[in-house]
Amino acid sequence: MITILKKEINEFLDSLIAYVVIGIFLMGIGLIMWVFPETNVLDYGYVSMDVLFSYAPFVFMFLVPAITMKSFAEEKRNGTIELLYTLPFKETDIILGKFFGGLLLVLFSILPTLIYYFSLSYLGNPPGNIDTAGIIGSYIGLVLLASVFTSVGILVSALTGNQIVSFILAAFLCFLLFFGFDSLANINVWSSGSSFIRSIGVMVHYEVMSKGLIDLRDVVYFLSASALLLYLTKLTLKIQRGE
């Protein structure tokens, strides 16, 4: 698994896409956090990183599929999937290697946002007057959200042999998973079932965590959603090989 993970990271960092994607992500988040008049933290007057955590899912919907779109689609297009399968790797190792490779790259992309924490901490009155525990909790929520979106990206990449299709489909599925169930639950036909439908979606779980509140139920939700999506990836690959 480590061998695949290293390969994924090297391959991604070796391509121009990596720097474009990460650069645009950081610029977008930076503009929202520090420049745009409606959202910038300087005008807000409070030392808070809520803006980052509430806008991050929107940016992740594009960032994560851009990172994962290559994973299986490119291997299939180039025929290197045959090479991977005939090397002594377990199928699970290949999937997990690609998943953790993608996740690490997403984490690597959000790493520079830690500077915002230190900047805000310095700007606080008195300096250091910031809810560190809450921000740590929110970052954990962000990592778990990245994990679900990465699993979606890996699954979709396994479904298709085309990177562009993989990107568009993964972005759409991430959007659907985040907002879809919440919007569905808002339709006034479900009565008591609406809260159950809402709980299937990512949004309700992320909103709790983005406020820094770590509830074990939400953690279990994120981890099991990732595991389920990765299992579906395994099934997809097995079916494609005729097993």
């Binding site: 391959e11 070796d14 290197t80 002594p88």
Partner: protein
């Protein structure tokens, strides 16, 4: 370590790509695996390497079942797939190091260096694979298949699309590397089979149509005996046909004369009776191309 294929069947939907084939590839021998396009060669090789699942029968590599212990089989097998898929954005050394890590080899650097030397990649070792010519890419593919010193080597058309010089070089590498290994090698080039292979298995429409030594196979295709007869000038073919011989003009003044039994006496009789200007008479060897065509057309 031998490869034993027994009653192997592979279905794609209702279509039988491989239909109950059985053969063995012995250690220390290069087994040529021949057949027309779509005959089932690549499918069989993909099953033997654990890439594709089988529908029936068994494939054992050194007594290890491919279905029940695929990882063990992969560890002892080197495989060069058809079209030689490579990570084009990797450097040659980086790619070979990745493969070495995949096999869990401890001494990466020395293994990579020895493969680069064996496959003649020294000049190109610092280039990206994308920048290499087809011949060098094929060498990288071979280095990939050989890096863990596998006991079994499965090469799917390793020389297709190469120019004559590259072809000779790659054949040399295969010959050098395949000593004491079990090698299965698929190709469409019959001269290659004669140059490299000890044994030939021919498959057509998913079934085995020949499984024998190269020399024995040559005799399979011949119906009767044939002689190449050369004259100083053009002769009338019906002189030979009138005594029951079959005559074909091969090129100017060169004729292929054959019959069910040895035709030499009859040929000499016609030559002396009509005072024909004979230059030479030579027994014709049945070519592997001819055998291949005969065997794969009959089915």
């Amino acid at each position: 370590m031998s490869i034993v294929v027994n009653q192997l069947t592979k279905l794609y939907g209702s279509q039988k790509a491989v239909d109950g084939i059985s053969f063995q590839a012995q250690k220390g021998k290069i087994t040529g695996f021949l057949g027309p396009n779509g005959a089932g060669k690549s499918t069989t090789m993909k099953i033997a390497t654990g890439y594709l699942p089988l529908s029936g029968g068994t494939v054992e590599v050194g007594g290890i079942d491919v279905v029940t212990s695929p990882l063990k089989v992969k560890k002892v097998t080197g495989y060069l797939p058809e079209h030689n898929p490579l990570y084009l954005d990797m450097y040659v050394k980086e790619y070979l190091s990745f493969i070495a890590a995949a096999y869990g080899l401890k001494n990466h650097r020395s293994k990579v260096a020895s493969m680069i030397a064996l496959c003649g990649l020294k000049v190109e070792q610092k280039k990206k694979i994308r920048a290499l010519s087809k011949g060098y890419r094929q060498r990288v593919g071979l280095a990939q298949a050989l890096i863990h010193d596998p006991e079994v080597l499965i090469l799917d058309e390793p020389t297709s699309g190469l120019d004559p010089n590259q072809l000779v070089e790659i054949r040399k590498v295969i010959k050098e590397a395949s000593q004491d290994k079990t090698v299965i090698f698929s190709t469409h080039i019959m001269q290659e089979v004669e140059a490299l292979c000890d044994k030939v298995v021919i498959i057509n429409k998913g079934k085995i149509v020949a499984d024998s030594d190269v020399s024995a196979l040559k005799s399979l295709g011949g119906n009767g005996t044939s002689y190449r007869v050369t004259f100083e000038e053009e002769i009338k073919e019906d002189l030979f046909e009138s005594v029951g011989l079959m005559v074909n003009l091969v090129e100017m003044n060169h004729y292929s004369i054959s019959s069910e039994e040895d035709p030499r006496k009859l040929i000499m009789k016609v030559v002396t009776d009509h005072a024909l200007p004979l230059v030479s008479i030579m027994k014709e060897e049945q070519s592997l191309e001819g055998v291949f065509q005969t065997l794969t057309k009959e089915q």
